[in-house]
């Protein structure tokens, strides 16, 4: 096999691997691969090292399934948090967004997705059993369900509230409504109806 063909194979290989990333089509994969090819050796090895390290060091918290380098995670092991309140999210990245607000002082539980029959994902495929196992020993009194405001997220929230309420837990849903800066005139009827349901006293 000639040297030239060998090189073409390596580049093709990289394009294939990059194409597996979410949101990356064949064109973007080609562009990224070419960019990597042109980068300095040092940059490329740092990049490769970062990828290998993330897989080696970062894991899921055994309690809440947050991504962490220490187990349990910083939130679960903190002494400053209210451990009787759990905020339920779909993905670990949602915790990062909520943490940025600085408004939540409880702990989290990541479901690792939402109930989505079209994708073959049911309750058994999510971390729901693990959530139920936390309720009694951790004396959970309140949960806030912060699944996404789409149909799957709503259905998942309903499902969870159905199985959590009989356990004597207060169940809240993150408020849904009109985003700040939008105008009522241009908001569609479904979004408006949801905002009305979530109204609060002033």
């Amino acid at each position: 096999m000639s040297m030239e063909r060998y090189n073409a194979g390596a580049l093709e290989n990289l394009i294939n691997e990059l194409g597996k990333l979410p949101g990356i089509g064949p064109k973007s994969a080609q562009r990224l691969a070419y960019h990597i090819l042109k980068s300095s050796k040092e940059d490329v090895s740092n990049f490769a090292k970062a990828m290998a390290e993330v897989k080696e060091k970062v894991r899921y918290c055994s309690k809440c399934f947050n991504i962490t380098e220490s187990d349990p995670c910083n939130v679960c092991s903190s002494t400053k948090r209210n451990k009787n309140i759990i905020c339920i999210v779909e993905e670990p990245l949602d915790i990062m967004s909520l943490e940025k607000t600085g408004s939540f002082r409880g702990v989290y539980h990541v479901l690792m997705g939402s109930i989505s029959p079209l994708d073959g994902i049911g309750p058994e495929d999510l971390k729901i059993k693990e959530l139920l196992r936390r309720i009694e020993p951790e004396k959970i009194t309140e949960v806030i369900i912060a699944t996404n405001p789409d149909v799957e997220g709503e259905a998942t929230a309903l499902f969870l509230s159905k199985i959590l309420k009989p356990l004597g837990v207060k169940v809240y849903r993150l408020a849904l409504g009109i985003p700040m800066g939008a105008s009522i005139e241009y908001t569609d009827e479904v979004t408006l109806a949801r905002a009305l349901e979530g109204k609060k006293e002033l």
Binding site: G23, I115, S116, P117, G122, D150, P179, Y186, D188, T191
Partner: protein
């Protein structure tokens, strides 16, 4: 060719696409099943708002160059929002299963007025009526007819000879209907009660409005699902993902 298109469609799948876009699968009146992209639809202040949510019937305005694969959504407006489907886990799982049939077994770009009507009526009935199982069974039977399954009880689908009426009958996914004893020899068949087949024939001929007047037992629902699943999976070599999930949602913790 005019690159601007306008039609009404039901959203059957929503995916994230890039940073802020949505990639949709839509079953439309004018173009059948299509893929479409809504740019910026994931942004909070997107002009698409709630119009692209799963199971919503939406008026759609597209841009598509003659040779482009994707329809680019420029505007949308809610035509029908099924508000109970998104507020009831059971209705949600049934609506998902119905969409799964369209998503899995209907080819892209083939329009069908009768299938569109069946789809929208089923969603409407799931949204407004209590007996989701009955609505779903009727949908399955009517869907099966759309893709070529014949519920003939008097003669064998394979050889045409008169059928002996027995308590249990053999259905052949390969032949798309009931087969006689001789023809069922050596081929894979599904055994069901004769009454289930009579019920399927009844559901096939009647409208959704008759459902409130009839009773269907658990056994019949299961057998209808079995016949439909075997037929579709044999002939399309594709599997439905939603039926297993539906079962586990209904039985969770029991």
């Amino acid at each position: 060719m005019n690159p601007y298109h306008k039609t009404t469609g039901i959203i059957i799948k929503v995916r994230s696409y890039g940073e802020a876009n949505k990639h949709l699968t839509v079953y439309t009146k004018a173009y059948g099943k299509i893929h479409a992209v809504a740019k910026g639809a994931k942004k909070i202040k997107s002009r698409f708002g709630s119009t692209l949510e799963l199971f919503t019937e939406t008026k759609l305005f597209f841009y598509k160059q003659a040779h482009a694969e994707l329809y680019l959504l420029t505007q949308s407006q809610i035509a029908t929002h099924f508000k109970n489907i998104s507020k009831d886990v059971k209705k949600y799982t049934y609506a998902s299963a119905v969409s799964d049939f369209i998503n899995t077994f209907v080819p892209f770009g083939e329009k069908s007025h009768s299938l569109y009507e069946l789809f929208i009526q089923t969603l409407y009935k799931l949204d407004t009526e209590k007996h989701e199982e009955k609505v779903f069974s009727m949908f399955m039977v009517k869907f099966l007819a759309q893709v070529g399954f014949r519920i003939a009880l008097d003669c064998c689908t394979s050889c045409g000879s008169d059928l002996k009426q027995k308590i249990r009958m053999s259905v052949s996914p390969k032949h798309g209907g009931v087969v006689c004893e001789e023809c069922s020899d050596g081929i894979s068949t599904v055994e069901v009660f004769n009454n289930t087949l009579k019920l399927m024939d009844f559901l096939h001929r009647k409208t959704f409005d008759t459902l409130s007047k009839i009773m269907i037992g658990e056994q019949s629902h299961m057998e209808i699902e079995k016949v439909v699943e075997h037929f579709l999976e044999y002939n399309f070599e594709l599997r439905l993902k939603s039926l297993k999930v539906m079962e586990s949602v209904n039985s969770y913790g029991k």
